[in-house]
Every structure is written in C-alpha cells, then in structure tokens.
Point group: C2
Chain length 345, copies 2
C-alpha cells in the first residue's frame, strides 16, 4: 500500500517535468512561485499540478517529510488481553505493509499519555493509533499530530473534543443485548458494574443497560448502578460487590463493564455462598481468556479485538494513501456468548 | 542520574581546555590528532586526557550523541501478564528518572525481533531491555547497540552468544522446588510440560526437574518430558496432554513450564474426568491472574515480575551513570505458592 502511495507521488512530479520538458527542480520552484521561473512556465506547471490535484504545500511537505514507516500505538493497559490482541491486529497489517509498530502504555494516566504521545512524536511516527486513558478529557496532545499532517486514529476509547477517525464497537447494542438476555432468563433486579464515567464506552454501555430495562418495563434503580472508580481489575469488583451485599442489596443478575469485573463479582458472590446463575446470573464484556477458566464459565460479549486493530491500521493506511484527513468511523457489532454463568445448561 | 553523567563529561573537556589555557576545539582537534595542532599541544592534551582516562573516541561520541531519555523494551508476548507486569516495573523506575519507555513485541519471532530492534535503534533509545523470542539463536542485532555504547540488558530470557547484564530468576531452583513438593505429596510419576528448547529458562527448568527426580531416586522417563513446541497457550497444553493420555500414559503429577500450559493440562484432565489433585496434581510457573480463577486453584511459582522490571531498569541506569558496560547479573528467587491443584486442603 505504502509503495503504491510513493509511486503515485513520484510519478506525478516526474510526469509534470516530463510533460513540460523541464527539470524537476523547475517544477518544484514553479510550484513555490520562485522568482527565477518565468510566468509562462509557472502557469503551465501550476495548471498541470492542479489537473493532478496537487498543491505546492503537499508537495513541499511530502518532499521534506521523510517517512519512518513507523506507527505509534498508545493503549491504557497492556495487561488486558483485549488491548494486546488489538495490538496484534495492528501489527498484522503494519508488518505486511513494511511498517513497524512502537507501543506505549498510558497506565490509565492522562499525564503519562501526554508524555508518551510526545515521545512518539519525537520518534517521528507516521501515524498514531490510540485508545485513551480513563482520565483523558482534552485532546491537545493528539491535535499536535494532526497539525503536522500525521493521522490520528482512535480505537475503542475515543478522545472527547477531537475530530478523528475511529474504530469502535456498538457498546450500546452490546449492553442492550446482554441485559435483554438476562431479562429473558427471568431476571428482574439487574445490577450494572459500570466502567470509568469519562469514557464513551462506559457511557454507551450504561445507556444500553437502561434502554433494555425500559423496553421491558423494569424500573431503573440508582442503587443497582455501581461505578468501579478504583480500577478495572477483579479486586475492584470483589470490593464493590461486597459493599453492595453489605448494604443488604441482592440483585438477581449482574452485568459488568468487563470480564475482570464480572469475575471479581463472581468471586464475591461465591464467597458469600450465593449460587451462580440460580440466585445471581453474571454477564461480562470482552471474552478474555479467563472467561472460560472461571467456574461457572462466564457469559460475555465478544469484541473482535484483532479485527478492530486491523481496521484501525487500515484507516491509517487509507489516510496516508489518499493524503486525506477525512473522518471515518468503523463500528463493529459485539456477539453475546451464553455460558453457564447466566443460564442453566 | 542522567544529569550527573553529563556534568562529569562536560567538566572534563572544559577542564582540559582551562588547565592548558587553550580552546575546547583545540582540545578536540588535538585528541583527534589534527594536523593544525602543534606536537607539544597535542602531547599536553593527550597526556591530560589519559590522566582523566578519556579516549578521543569516547569524547567524540559523547559530543555527538544526544540523549533522548528513552528506553526501548522488547518482549516476546504482550499478552502474557508476566511481561506486562515486568514492563510496569521498568516504567516505574524510568518515569521517575524522567525517561520514557518505547515497547515492541517480537511475537516470538526472530525475524520480527531483528526488525523491531532496528526500529528502536532508529528511535535513538539510550538503552535496550530485552527478553528474547523463542527462536533467537544469535545476538548480532543486539551487539550493534553495544558497539554504539548503548547498554543492552536482558531479563528473564537471555540471548545466547552475548556478554550483557541480565536479570533472571533461579529457574533451576524453582523447578526443583516444585517437583520436590510434588514428590512430598506422594507423587512418583511426574510429567513435565517443557518450554521452548532454545530458551535458557526452559533448559534450566528441565535441569531442576531432573535434579529433583534424581535426589529422590525416581527414574527419568523420556516419555514424561513433553515439549510444547507449538506455543505457550492453554490450547497447546490441552492438545499435548490429550496426546499423552491417548498414548495410555497417565502421570500422577504434571509440572508445567508456565501457568497457561498448566491450566490447559488441567482442562484436558478435567474433560477426561481425571481428578485434580487426587489422581493428577498440577503445578504451574508464574502466578498469572488465571491461577486463582481456575478450579481447583493452581499451585505455582511466583516470579517477582515487577521487581525484575525495576531491577533491569536499574542495571541500565547503573551502566549509563558509571559509563561502564561491566556485565552484571541479578538473580531473583521464586516462591512456591501451594494451592488446591497439588494438595488437598
């Protein structure tokens, strides 16, 4: 793909020179309106450039900008299987196209995200693929890439306040489907362990949860919407679930923002001798490897992580090949896998 | 730390110039044996440089080499919790010292490892921290860093054929302890699911396994030493264990190279209605999060992954601060955690 792009650009410059029987430097100077070039030549070159849809600035920047054939990637957490799988999807396309991939971790910290984005800018990456930290509210550190004509593509977690292409999943429908499934299992008091409130994906999953309740005429109960503010690991859900149980609140189902939270909730339920799924059914999100190790095995929504990574890389290649920053959004659907944690089999 | 190093070098060059009452460029040219400098000056400068233990090449390279305050890291697999935790340990020290971390994945491929090491070299990292792929046999792609005075530190998996500092664990003792524990549980026919044969860590764990058998007078049986050549995931062990069972071989214990292999073996045993630990006890290596999710919970050897990462970063800082490439090896001990997979509790 990248080869195609270079061929296209180089051919055009040579074509202008050949077609007008002048040197390449004459073309370049004519496009930059240099005083050493006569008006007739200038006009001829500029007309032809226009015909090929070429602007002097593009040419200047493409001549001066040396591609490093490197893509920068920032993920919030390397320890989540979802993100390492997305990275594999990005790498699959990148390496096939002769590109390398430099990875940084924001560790869910906005400050760290700013630092690593600067590091990748210094490394002269040709593009940046990002899933933002749970603290990220502004986009200035990403906009600097766009201002230098370096494509920025978001995946999964998009950055508020910035126009950029992205690959997301239909979180709303995913959550709706999970909660509808629980209702169809006869559950009526469904709790949601929600994700970090700033993230688009958390907000959309909460919306899907509420919409499913509404569709089936179930009341929304504030007490059953629990935000795990401390983190997205099992420990955080063990604690949050125990706090809920200690308050005397016992739902008949739990839909969790991600599998580690779902599995943490299951651990808390089991240590309170609460039967899964008979007393409390549980559904997660992501289909991490742990989902089939835990007993009972966890029902969960599959996100096509590898495909999401590949699609994000493809959006990058589309942008550099078309030399365009047109904003495009690819949306993948999730797929509910029903296992023993939500249905007696 | 980095500031201290710069200060030391700059002071010395200025000192030579001041002490001889000549310009810095005279010092530089004298050290490079430039024809424009008289013999007496040359000798005076060179004698003083010798006194300060400075060589022209060092000075030239230290003048030309601009620190990027970036550490490059290459891991075989981002999807293993062990490696993402090591990275967190590296980052902890690095960011505190004002350094950034660029991460690449070799995906267990030698070819990919060569490419990403070149990428990190192009990004002008100040140091390289590596755990090699399971295919890596030679060190040329790493030696190029050393030849440019960029420290290379290995962690966990060291590179054969190269003198470099490293942080490892005592794999031999870890394996010995695990197998001794199984013998003390009354097990006599202990299989080992071994790791990639090229890796030092696999070889040392096999040695520890054999040594424990020998200590307790148990015969070594080739058929019970099974190498998972296809990979280090659960699926690979499910297959290898099933193949073993199909041959009519039933050990009374399995010691696995890593937790995903141990858990895969458990899945195969369970699907054959073999009781764990009564019929077959299982011990893993790493204490991945899955070890406490699987039932029965998995006995395993804890490696201090975070500390290993921090120690590797510390070796890097020691080398740049002392401007030395002295080879140092830090060895951490593993700690056996006994859970229900190997002992009735």
């Amino acid at each position: 793909m990248e080869g195609k792009q270079q061929e296209f650009k180089q051919t055009t410059i040579i074509d202008i020179a050949k077609e007008l029987n002048v040197s390449k430097s004459t073309v370049s100077r004519a496009l930059n309106n240099h005083s050493s070039i006569g008006d007739a030549t200038k006009k001829a070159v500029q007309d032809l450039a226009k015909k090929y849809n070429y602007h002097p600035n593009d040419i200047a920047s493409s001549l001066s900008k040396r591609s490093t054939k490197t893509i920068g990637v920032i993920v919030p957490l390397l320890s989540h299987y979802y993100f390492s799988t997305v990275i594999s999807g990005i790498e699959e396309l990148a390496y096939k196209a002769g590109y390398k991939v430099l990875i940084c971790q924001s560790a869910e910290s906005y400050a760290r995200e700013v630092v690593v984005s600067q590091t990748l800018l210094s490394s002269k990456v040709d593009g940046l693929l990002v899933s933002v930290s749970r603290e990220t509210k502004d986009a200035d550190h990403f906009k600097v890439f766009q201002s230098r004509n370096i494509p920025v593509i978001f995946f999964d977690r998009v950055c508020p306040g910035m126009e950029a292409s992205s690959v997301i999943i239909d979180d709303y429908m995913g959550a709706f489907t999970a909660v509808e499934h629980l209702i169809q299992q006869g559950k009526r008091k469904i709790a949601h362990l929600a994700g970090p409130p700033l993230l688009n994906i958390s907000q959309n999953r909460v919306r899907g949860y509420k919409a499913a309740l509404e569709k089936y005429g179930l009341p929304f109960d504030e007490e059953l919407l629990i935000t795990c503010n401390t983190g997205l690991e099992r420990e955080n859900a063990i604690e949050a679930t125990q706090v809920m149980l200690n308050k005397g609140i016992l739902p008949d189902a739990i839909f969790a923002f991600c599998d580690p939270l779902a599995i943490g909730a299951m651990e808390a339920l089991k240590s309170n001798d609460i039967k899964i799924p008979e007393q409390v059914a549980v559904v997660g999100f992501c289909n991490e490897p742990m989902a089939t190790v835990v007993e009972p095995r966890l029902s969960t929504l599959v996100q096509p992580a590898f495909k999401i990574g590949a699609a994000a890389a493809q959006l990058f290649f589309d942008q550099i090949n078309n030399n365009s920053q047109a904003v495009e959004q690819k949306v993948f659907r999730t797929n509910l896998i029903i296992r023993e944690s939500s249905q007696k089999i």
